[in-house]
C-alpha cells in the first residue's frame, strides 16, 4: 500500500473527493429546498400568523423540553403531530381552545410529575402558536411518526 498510496496522492484524493461530495450535497439540498417549499409543506399557506407562531415557539425555547418532528429534547412529548393527537388538525378554533386550555393549566404542581412552566402568552400569540403547530402537522414527513402517540 505504501508504494501505491503516497502522502501526496492521499492528500489529492482527500481534496478532490471532498470537493466532489460538497458539489453533490449542494445540488441535493437545492433540490430539497424546492421540494420543501413546493410540495412537502405546501398543504397549508405559510401565513404571517404561522410565522408569528414559530417565533412564539422559539422565544419560549419549547425545543429544550419537547421534540418537533423528532428533534429537540426528550423530556416532554413530540409536538409535530400534536394536533392530530388532539383531533384538532382540521379545526383552527378547536386547536386554539385545547392549546389555550392546556397552557393555562400549567404548571400542574402534581408531585412526581414533570412540570411545564407557565408562559405569558397573549391571545393573538396563542392562536398563532396553534396555527404553527397545525402547519407543522400538515408537513409531509414521510409518514413519521409511526403512530399518533408521537
Amino acid at each position: 500500500m505504501s508504494e501505491l498510496l503516497t502522502k501526496s496522492r492521499a492528500r489529492n484524493v482527500f481534496y478532490g473527493g471532498s470537493i466532489f461530495f460538497v458539489v453533490v450535497f449542494v445540488a441535493l439540498t437545492a433540490q430539497s429546498h424546492r421540494h420543501i417549499v413546493e410540495q412537502s409543506t405546501a398543504g397549508m399557506p405559510l401565513t404571517e400568523e404561522v410565522a408569528l407562531g414559530k417565533h412564539v415557539w422559539e422565544r419560549h425555547s419549547c425545543i429544550n423540553c419537547h421534540t418537533l418532528h423528532g428533534e429537540g429534547a426528550y423530556f416532554a412529548p413530540e409536538l409535530g403531530n400534536v394536533m392530530t393527537r388532539w383531533g384538532a388538525q382540521d379545526d383552527p378554533e378547536l386547536a386554539y381552545e385545547i392549546l389555550d386550555g392546556w397552557m393555562q393549566a400549567q404548571p400542574s404542581g402534581i408531585e412526581g410529575r414533570r412540570q411545564m412552566p407557565r408562559f405569558e402568552i397573549t391571545e393573538e400569540e396563542m392562536r398563532a402558536l396553534a396555527e404553527f403547530l397545525r402547519w407543522a402537522d400538515q408537513t409531509d414527513t414521510q409518514n413519521w411518526p409511526p403512530n399518533d402517540a408521537g
Binding site: 498510496l5 417549499v37 425555547s61 419549547c62 423528532g70 426528550y74 412540570q115 411518526p145 409511526p146 403512530n147
Partner: protein, 451 residues
Amino acid sequence: MKYKTQKVAYAYFIVAMGLFAIQVLGGLLAGWIYVSPNTLSELLPFNVIRMIHTNALIVWLLLGFFGAAYYLVPEESEREIFSVKLAYIQLAILVVGTLGAVGSYLVGIHGGREFLEQPLWVKFGILVAAVIFLVNVSLTFLAGRKTAITNILMMGLWLLCLLWVFAFINPDNLSLDKMYWWFVVHLWVEATWELVMAAILGFLMLKLTGVDREVIEKWLYIIVATALFSGILGTGHHFYWIGTPGYWQWVGSIFSTFEVVPFFAMMSFAFLMVWKGRKNHPNKAALLWSLGSSTVAFFGAGVWGFLHTLHGVNYYTHGTQITAAHGHLSFYGAYVALNLAMFSYAMPLLRGRAPYNQVLNMASFWLMTGGMAFMTFTLTFAGTIQTHMQRIVGDYYMDVQDQLGLFYLMRFGSGVAVVLGAILFIYSMLVVRREVVKPGPVVKDATVPGE
C-alpha cells in the same frame, strides 16, 4: 514549550475547564430533574438548564480547540503566533459572550433553535471572535512551515467558522429551518470537527510515540478523506422525517453507514502508532486519554451512531432516549476526551514542570469513562423500552416515561461518577503539585520526549 507565545493556550484551557465544570453540574441537575421532576420547576425550568448544559459543552470544546490550535500551530509552523494580543482579545470576547448568554438564559432571554439559542449580539460576538482567530492562526500558518497536521487543522477550523453563518439563517418555513440548522450542527460534529480531532490526535501521536511524521501524515489524509466522503452526504440521516424528499432515506443510510470508517480508522491509527512507537513518553495520562478518546469515539459515534442510523430502524427510534444515549457517548469520546488528552499533554509544558499527578488524572479517566459508559447503557435500555411501548404499541409518551424511572435513577448515579471524575481531573491539573504514587523505572527513565 518551544515558543513563548504558545502560553496563550494556557488561558484558553483554564476557561475551558471552568465551563466544563459548569456543563457537568448542569447535566447532573438535569439528570436529577428526571428523577425528581418538581425540583426547581418554577425557578429554573428544565429547558433553561438544558440550554446551559449544551451551550457550555459546545463553547468549552471550541475553546479547547482554539487553545489547541494556539499551542500546536507555532510548534508545527516553527514560529511565534502572529499576535498574542489578538488571541487574548478573542478569548475576552468569547468569555463576555458566554457569560452574557448564560445570564440572559437565566432571565429568560434566548432563541429557540436548539443549541443556537444565543441572543443575536452573542452570535455576532462569536462571529467576530472567529474572524480574529482565523486571521491570527492563518497568518502564523502562512508564514511558516506547512505540515499535514496544520493543513487539516486549518481546513477544519476555517470550514467550521464559515458554517457558523448558517446560525444566522432562520427561515419561517420550519422544514427549511431544520434543513439549514443541520448545516451547522451536523457539518460541525460529523465533518469539520472530525478534521480538527484528527489533526490534534495526529499531533499527540507525533509527540507521544515518536513515529515518523511521514507515516502519521499519510494516515491523517486517509482518515479525513473517509470522514468527509461519508460525513457530508451522511447529513442525509437527519433528513429522513423533516419534510425533505424520500431519497434521503437511502443516501443517508448508505453514507452514514460509512461514517463508522473514520472512527475505526482513528482508533486503529492511535493503537498502531503506539505499537510502532520508538519513544517512551513520560506523560502516560495524555497517552491514556488519546487512546481512550479514539476508542470511545468509535463506540459512541461509530457503533451507537450506526445502531439507529438506518432509516428502517430510525423510523422507530428517532427522537427517543436512544438518541440521547448516542449523543452523550459520542460527544464524550470524540471531543471531550480528546480535549482532555490535549490538556493533559500541554498543561505540564505550559506550566514548565514535569507531568505530575498522573495517577489522579488516569483515575479520573476511568471514573468519567466508566460513568459515561454506564449512562449510555441505561439510556439505551430506556430507549429500547420507549421505542417498543411508544412507537410500536402506541402508548402515550408520559405513560411510557413513567415506566422508565429506574433507568433515570441509574443514569443519575452514573452522572455523579462523571462529575466526580471531572472534578478530579480539574483538581489534578490545577492544584496538586506532587505525584501521589511513586512511578516505576519505566516511567522515570522515559525522559526522551517525542519529536
